[in-house]
Every structure is written in structure tokens, then in C-alpha cells.
Amino acid sequence: MLKPERMSKLFVVGPKSTLPKVVSRLHELKIAHLIEHKKDEFDLCAPLENFEKLSSMLVQVRSITSYLNISDGKVAIKKFKIPELEEEINALKEKVTNIIEETKKIGDEVAIISEQKKILTLMSLFLQVSPEDFAKSKYISQYFGYVSDPNIKEKLENITDRFEISILKLDKKFLVAIFVDTSYAEQFGKVLAEASFSDINVSSTNGLKGKSIDLFESTLMKEEKLIKRLSEYKYKLEKIAQEHSDRLLSAEKFLSIEAEKAQVPLSFGSTKEAFFLRCYLPKNDVKKTKGELMKSGNNKLHIIEEPLGEEEDIPIKLNNSKYIQNSEFFTKLFALPKYDEFDPSALIAYTFPLFYGFMLGDVIYGLVTFAVFYYLKKKFPVGKDFFNMMLAASFGAIIFGFLYGEFAGLELYHFWIERTHDFSTLMMISILAGIVHVNFGLILGFILEYKHHGLVKAANSKLSWIILQVGGILFLGPLLNMLTVPKPLFYAGVFLFVLAVLMLLKGEGFIGVMEIPSILTHIMSYARLMAVGLASVFIAVMVNDLITFLFHKGILFWPLALISLLIGHTFNIALGILSPSLHSIRLHYVEFFSKFYQGGGKDYEPFGAEKQKSLI
């Protein structure tokens, strides 16, 4: 429970003829975390022969589904016959791409037509101007666009009178159509530029013949027709999508699994006639897996269990009971443990709700948060683990609420601690929790260090902290007038303190000595158990005072009282979810984990298993 699942490493060799069957079996077993073979004197194994075909089919299916806008739905995986499926896909692809290409063509046409419409609308404002006037000409330069200068005509007349102009005021600008002898083009260009002429590109109406108004009407009709055709094609696509969506989705699933299987030999090694693979799997499953693989390889395989090396990056499969699995969420959020480390999930699973409950500690609030998280759990199954943890935490809050006698900030009875008055007791309990928690972490660290580096190193780098605390209390307590102890104990304290410092110097070097105050701050940090709780209580008390005040003011103020009740307590509950949970998990991550936990393990990802969705 406190350690990740124990793993074994298998080495499998077999003739290449058995490869497809072995791969298939491995995929079904969903248990082997494959180790990629790095090319050495042995080459990489080639993928199964149908790999290319499968992956190209997969790409096609995916492109069809994306054309048809088929989103991921839940479908059962079916078995398909590959040649038949290939034919089906090709036919469907042709059908779909034809339609898509047609719609693209029509789309382009529609775009041109709408551009033409825009220009024609403007041209038709000048009765005598039509697209033909803008045909390319050697002798005449044409300008069509907006200018900001109302006196443009006069200015152009200064150059020559051999030109024609039509002007129309539109909003604050002037629409102009100008035709002039090409020899004046340069001068006209200058004047127009000064009048901030902005050109309208008429290229899309080139080649149209007739009056602008007539042309405009005919383009409108054309557009209508095209849009109708577009919607027909769209309907066709939708129909195809409806007909084929289930089949396509299950084909996609089938093909991606088959392609995965066909590709996996790339992480195996090979000789001319044989393949070999290495994989990790849980120790308990070794025997069964061996048998299954043997069967799939017609007993032609050779399977041995290899010893695990010291420095090996063994994948981590957490191994916890059902309740504790929920808190694996927090462990993973920090980092997966390494293979030899403790898996702290089991510890978080109980202390997280305990701390949360101690902080929030209110029956009504606990019930509300319980309801909220129950709802969220049903609504968002992805975050099930986290919400289960928060449900446990809410339960903790209810229990502590009964202990404190608190109901939405009202202290109905006094049973254990009166939180609003008895700060120092609350603080003592918090600090005590800190001492226990931090030292528990140190003990875990000691055990790990002892296993890996022996007793001396473990004592120097972990036990020293515990000795330091004992010495510190006996020696600093009397100096700060916080404690009275007999003289011999005081000297023993000094001795222990100095001893611990020396051990630290030996175990963790100068850095360790520099870190000495951290043990105090880490323990004091647990005062947040009191502080966060107090903040929550006092906000609740204030809200209640306000409500009582308003309530006594008279019946006119009652609606206001109701509003403050709702807003005040909702706000406080929101804080009561956020603050205690974050502070509780922080105590684990910063103060507790730093004593024994580094993390950094690699996730166990057995071949064939789907990756589970989670919040992180």
C-alpha cells in the first residue's frame, strides 16, 4: 500500500513467424509496459507487413470523418475484414471528396459574385457607368473609388478639360468614376493621391457586358441558384454522415488499434529470423502472462525474467485500496513516486480530510460542500477522484463541526473547543499536528535513507532533525522563558542541539546547517490549521451579526437580511472550499513531502490500454 506495485522485467525471444500473434495477445492482455529497444548490434524490428496499408486507411477514415463533421461518439469496436473495409473506404472517400470539391468550386463562385454585386451596386449609382467602361484601354485611364476632397473636379479641371467625371456623396466620402486621356494619367494620379483617393478593385467585373443595373439583377439570380446548389450538396453530405457515422467511428477505432499493433514491433529488437522484446509488468502477473504468451507463440518462445537494475527507470503503477485511489490524484499532481519511494497517497487520503475538516469545521458548511461536490461528481465524472476526496473532506468538516458545535458560524453548544475564544488551545493543537506530521515525514525519510545509504547516512541526514527538535525544545525553551526544565536537562538539550548540528553538517553539508530554521518554520506553518479556520469562523460570525442587526431593524429590512444571509454565507462557503483545501494540500506538498518525497517516476502505460482521462 505504501509502495508502488512491485514490477518484474520480462525478456521474450521468438521466431518472427509468431510475431503477429504475440503482438495481438500482448495487446489483449493490456499488461506489458514495453521497453523501447535502442539500435545496437541488433537492429530494430520491422513493423508488421500491413502497417502502411492500415495507417493510410486510418488517415483516410479520419479525413472523411473530419469532412463529414462526425464527432467522437461512443461506439462498440467491431471486427472488420481489411480488404472489404478498404474498398468501402475508397468508395466513400471518392463520393465525399467529389462533393467537397464541388462545394468548394461553388463557394469560390459565390465569393466572386458577391464581390461583383458590391461593385455593381456602386456602379449602378452612376447611371451612365458600366463594367465595360473599365475594360483595359491604351488611350483612356479609368479611376473608380472614393476621395475625401469635394472639390476634386475643379482641381482636375486645372490640368485639362479632356476628361469625364461622375461624383456622388456617400456618407463623408465621395464616390468618383473618372475617365481621362492616358497622357494625363500621371498628373491625375498625383492630384487624386492628394485627395486621398482609395481605389475600388473592379477586376472581378471585367468581361461583364451590359448596364450595371441589369447585370446586378442577373448576378443576384445567379447567386440564388448557386446557394441553392450549395445547400443541396450540404444536405447530401449530412445524409452521408448520418448513414455512415457509426460505421466510420468503429472503423476508426478498429484501424487505430490495428495500426498500433502493426507498428509496435518498431520498439522490439530483431535478428534475421527472430524478434525479441523487453517489458515491465506487475510481479503478480508474470506467471499468467508467461503462459498466455507461450500459448500465442505456439510454445516457440523463450521467456525469461530479468533482474531489475539499481538505476532503472521502472514504470510506476500505484497499488492502493479503493478509497485511497482517490487521493492518488494529489500524488500525481505533485509527481509520481519513484519505484523505491513511498507512495504518499495512503497518507494524504486520511490527513487531507482531517486537516480540511479541522479548518472548515462547520456542520452546515460541511453539508453544503458535500452536496456541491456530490453534484459535481455526478456532473463531471472525469474529476471523480478529486471530488471523492473533497466529499471525504466535507465529511471531515461535518465531524469537526459537531466537535466545535458550529452551525454556519453559530456556536450552538460547547463540547470541545470554543473556536472564537480559545485561540491558544487551537494553536497548540495545530502546532502539535505539525510536530507529529513533520516528524512522521522525517521517519519515513529515515527509513528510505537507511535502505539506500545505510544507517549512518540516514541518522545524519534525517534522525538529526528529530534530535535537533528535542535539543531545541530543552535548550531554547528555557532561554525564551517558555518552558522550565531542570538544569541537567537543559545541558542535555544543549548537547543534543550541538550534536544534531554536527550530524547535519556531516549528513547534508553546510546547506543542511543553513536550513536549520526551516524545521521551525515548517512546524509553525501548521498554525494555518488554526488561522484559516478562524478566518472562516469570523467571516461567518460577522455575516450572522449583520443579519441579526438588520433583522431587529424592522420588517422592512428583512429582505436585506435575507440577501446578506445568502451572499455572505455563499461567499464564505466558496472561500471555505478554496482556502482549506489548498492549505491542506500545501501542508502535504511543502512541509510533509520535503522530508521524504522527491517523485519523478514514470507512469506505467501498458501496451493496448487506453489512456485514462483525468483532470491532470
Partner: protein, 78 residues
Amino acid sequence: MAGVELAIGNGLLGVGAGLAIGLGAIGTGLAQQQIIAAVFGAIVEDPKQFGKGLFFILLPETLVIFGLVIAIMLMGRM
């Protein structure tokens, strides 16, 4: 006279308690201001960082909590 001195002493303890919390809160605020800016930057890049970011925002709250502890200890001497 003794009563006056006691009153002044108590007053100073009160001022001390207030300073402990107030200065602690300022320290927390200064630290959080930068962390929050950084965390929001990270969340914009990758919304998945929200949980971790929220946790980092909380780190400096230790300061004001220590202030509160000192304040409570001072109040105890009043």
C-alpha cells in the same frame, strides 16, 4: 502610576499585534502580486496549469499566518 504603565504596556502589545499581522499581510501581498501575475501568464499559455498555479499563489500566505501566531501570542500576554 502602575495602572497607567500597565495600560501603556497593553496598548503597546496591541500595537505590536497589529503590526505583526499588518506587516505580514503586506509581505504576503507583495509576494502574491508577482506570483499571481506569473501564474495568470502561465494559465493563459496552458489552462491546465490552473491547479498548480492556485497552489503557488498560496505559498506566501505563511507570512501572514506567522503574523497571526505572533499576534495571538502577544494578546495572550495582555
